[in-house]
């Protein structure tokens, strides 16, 4: 379980997280939605200690990771798989080497075991046979899938997805969504995804949390979020620029 307590973070004096309190339960997939620049990726990076908060606590499996040093964080981070927005594949390595990287770093697997696991992960994401390619030879969608393969190959307990479908066409985006669901069912991982893509959020989420003005504004199941009358949530999920229109439409709906 991951528990976030009164998490605060600011950059150059501008507050991004203004006291986030939230819990992520074992085995569920939580999607965090919110406006661009609203601190979603910042929140995600705090979960595995990639960023240090100004104040607050992040508990991973009953251990507060905030005071830990980089070296103390290493074993905690190995519980996580992270799909970065741009996939963040290592340019100098082939696709196979990229996916094998977390396994090789653990130094507990034989080369045969690594080869078997990497090929299995590449097959799951539909990239079987592409292991010899360098990241520069891959399309955006292939990079995302390769990043996903690298994130899951070590069978982590927690999977963090930063904008898993951003920049992909609807069909590719749905492929990624299906992959996330398949991975959840196959490995029973706890997932946290950050996205603006509401179709993706409704599809993969057990719960959706909206981050607004540095705090968790609303939490609910996809059905609850779709049915909400909260004007801020409705404005976001329906993509309405002017909130006064949404307040009026919300009032009309309520009455």
């Amino acid at each position: 379980m991951i528990r976030i307590v009164s998490l605060k973070k600011s950059f150059n004096g501008a507050p991004v997280l203004a006291g986030v309190d939230f819990e992520i339960h074992e085995g569920e997939t939580v999607v965090i939605i919110g406006r661009s620049g609203g601190g979603k990726s910042v929140l995600l990076k705090h979960l595995c200690g990639l960023l240090k908060p100004d104040d607050g606590e992040v508990w991973v499996d009953d251990e507060n990771i905030v005071p830990l040093s980089e070296r103390q964080l290493a074993p905690i981070r190995r519980k996580f798989g992270f799909l970065f927005q741009g996939a963040a594949l290592f340019d100098s390595l082939t696709l196979f080497e990229n996916v094998a990287f977390p396994l090789r770093e653990k130094r507990t697997f034989s080369e045969e075991e690594i080869t078997r696991r990497v090929e299995e992960a590449l097959e799951i994401v539909g990239l079987a046979g592409a292991g010899h390619k360098k990241p520069a030879e891959l399309s955006g969608g292939m990079k995302k899938r390769a990043g996903l393969a690298r994130a899951v190959v070590g069978t982590p307990k927690y999977l963090l997805y930063d904008e898993p479908t951003t920049g992909l066409d609807p069909i590719r985006a749905d492929t990624i969504n299906n992959l996330i669901l398949r991975l959840r069912d196959r490995y029973q991982v706890t997932g946290v995804a950050v996205t603006h893509d509401m179709a993706s959020a409704y599809k993969i989420a057990d719960r959706i949390a909206m981050l607004h003005e540095g705090r968790i504004h609303t939490v609910g199941t996809p059905a609850q979020i779709q049915a909400t009358t909260d004007p801020i949530v409705r404005q976001f999920i329906h993509g309405i620029a002017d909130i006064s229109q949404e307040v009026q439409s919300g009032n009309t709906t309520t009455h």
């Binding site: 990639l50 980089e70 290493a74 190995r78 970065f84 963040a88 977390p102 130094r107």
Partner: protein, 265 residues
Amino acid sequence: MLRAMSDLLKRLWQNLLGLVSQFGGVLLLFLDIVRTIFTCRPRMGETVEQLYKIGWQSQAVVVITGAFTGMVFAVQTGLQFHKVKMDTAVGPVVAIAMLRELAPVLTGLMVAGRVGAAIAAELGTMKVTEQLDALRSMGTSPTDYLAAPRFCALVLGLPMLTAEAMACGIGAGFLVAVHMLNIDPAYYWYNMLKFTAVKDVMAGLIKSVFFAVFIALIACHKGFNAEEGAEGVGRATTQAVVVSSLTILIANFFIAVVFNAIVPI
């Protein structure tokens, strides 16, 4: 007037703080690398790969730099010494200059330009494309995986390149002196050996180890701290080359003074 002075002082103070902060960052990186080298598993594969990139692939640049520096130095000293009938002193002058100063400094500057820039650009690009975060997210320290192998490769490679530059400079100087300035090769060689010693070679090689440490630390630090975007990577690369080159030139003077005090010429 008072306001302008106050602004100037404030800016100077901020620059000083920035400089102290940069120096602190470099020092912490150095301590982290030393800890990695002595406590963690060595990454031999990455170190050998970097040694190939940093050492082997820099040879052409270093050989040309060393050879032509030795040649031009032989020509200039030969023409001057000829006026006072000291032609055979060209050998020791070229040799000592190459061994103690020119080979280590020029090799350091060439490597700072070629390798320092490459390291800062590569690590900077990794920073802005979240590859460093990806490494950290997998429990791998960028210091262990990226900085320590580059540091070790430079500390091993730069003295070897410096030795190569020394040999090329002295050899090319000899050829120019003998074939262009018509200096007797036997006298040239005899005088060169008479006035040079192992300590001259050691002075140059020890300097090159210091220069390697400066280049590796500054380039890695600038790369790891590159700001967002292509402009940030470009700025980090430029700063890595400029700062490491200036550090080499300034440190060279102090190392020479200290070395001469310990082991007089």
